[in-house]
Amino acid sequence: MVTPNIVVDYLLAPLEFGFMQRGLLASVLVATICGILGSFVVLKRLAFIGDALAHASFGGVALAFVLGANIYLGAFVFALATALGIGAISQRGRVSSDTAIGVLFSGTFALGILIISRVESYTTDLFGYLFGDVLSITESDLWTIAALGLVVLALVGAFYRQLLFVAFDPTVAAATGIPARALEYLLLALLGATIVTAIQAVGIVMVVALLVTPAATAYLFTSRFHHMILASVVVGAFSALLGIYLSYYLDLASGAAIILVATALFFVTLALTGRKLSARRVAS
């Protein structure tokens, strides 16, 4: 028999360790930010560009590591430069934006690999950024994540109505005098910042899953945007918590455990809401 006391013990026991407290706090923070931005990513079909920005940030991580600079700053600068670069190249009209994305992110990712191949002693640490190592997050990492998260939250909060209008109907938003182009760039910059907060929690290779999967799950059972955001945050935070506990008790890689919990929730929701989804398709 499992009594409530034993459940509480199971939940509290890992919290005796500072690294578990930090890891849980960091992953819930990251899942919250990703849940908000992820809702835009799913609806605006930005998954590929999100994945690209995550990979591109690795060049910045490696470079900052070698130079002894702040790794989050390096990652953010590379993600932002890549986002702007994609916009600049594809606006010339000679190559499509997904081609520009493909060229730029593999190039910057390769730069990161090249750098770490030259500094072998650091490679184990850097692999933590590739595949995620939320339990090695330090207090100063936590502060950086919290600060970036606050900036993202404040900006989304400030321009929520404008961002929603532009996401739903960019043409009419522009026609009514809303700076649609600037808001689209703002969204990309926020996406870059969000990705940077998440790379240590789940790893560069899996960041896009934390952006897309909880938001996609939320999309299946909500019909208003703010409900979708809220549900996406809850699903993401729950995946993060459960994933970390599983990784603690079963000795699993934490990033992978979080993502697999989120993936499982998506498929369960998909099965449960199958009818509603097809009904919505028919209606449109």
Binding site: A158, F168, D169, V172, A173, T176, I178, F225, R280, A283
Partner: protein, 259 residues
């Protein structure tokens, strides 16, 4: 200033191919103008150029006697073609109408009581208040158009530009939409509609613009829809028949959704 729209020598090209050439016309305040012409004749482009959504090569646009700046844009309500919208987006009819208030909202601000009042009033005018909570994707084509009109009304637009509002909409809903536009005209709004429906323009609009890259004719529908002018606009793609003293126009092989 009694002109709602004044367009002078407007020319637009896509990739070097001219879409509009030397368009010059004006529309008085409170008029209801139907823009008709063959597919690819530049009807949608004309609306987009007036809104500054495509950059003209030459020419000027004045709306309500002023250049199209941000303050003027707030007074222009635009209803785009159906294909331009993601109908699976999770927003209710109310949410869409509330978007009409966004151009007047400052960052960080939540909708005020007045914003809500304007949105409800707009939904009521459009006959959509009882479906306010319905997801936009769950509405019929005609209802979706009325929600988009409600958004333009919530915006307090004085000039309404509608791009093919009745294409893909069933006949009773088409009538409801045109009735609604008539009422709005009665309230002093200026209404510009692009459409394929010549007979509807003939019956219900006070002005018609016949467009095929150039302005073929602008005036009262009965003057504009003469066999000679229609043939000039549509060339061989429209058959104009006289049946029992009534002029009937038949467009050949038209996929209705292109403009």
């Amino acid at each position: 200033m009694n002109k709602a729209l004044e367009i002078k020598n407007l020319s637009v090209a896509y990739n070097g191919r001219p879409a509009l050439e030397g368009i010059t016309f004006s529309v008085p305040k409170g008029a209801m103008l139907g823009v008709v012409g063959p597919n690819g004749g530049g009807k949608s482009t004309l609306l987009k150029a007036m809104l500054g959504l495509v950059r003209p090569q030459t020419g000027t646009v004045e709306i309500l006697g002023r250049w199209v700046d941000r303050r003027v844009r707030k007074l222009v309500g635009y209803v785009p073609q159906r294909e331009d919208v993601d109908w699976n987006f999770p927003v209710s009819a109310f949410d869409v109408a509330m978007m009409g208030r966004v151009p007047s909202m400052r960052p960080f601000r939540r909708p005020t009581a007045r914003d809500r009042e304007l949105v409800w009033e707009a939904l009521k005018t459009a006959g959509m208040e009882r479906l306010a909570d319905t997801p936009i994707g769950g509405l019929s084509g005609g209802q979706q158009q009325r929600v988009f009109l409600a958004r333009a009304l919530a915006q307090e637009a004085q000039v309404l530009l509608l791009d093919e509002p009745v294409s893909g909409v069933d006949a009773p809903s088409q009538h409801e939409i045109f009735d609604l536009l008539h009422r709005l005209q009665g309230e002093g709004k200026t209404v510009v509609v692009t459409t394929h429906d010549l007979s509807c323009v003939a019956e219900r609009f006070d002005l018609a613009l016949l467009l095929n890259r150039r302005v073929i004719s602008l005036g009262k529908p009965e003057e504009v829809f003469s066999p000679e002018l229609l043939n000039e606009a549509y060339q061989s793609h429209l058959m104009v028949l006289e049946i029992g003293g009534r002029t009937v126009a038949v467009e050949d092989g038209n996929p209705k959704h292109r403009g």
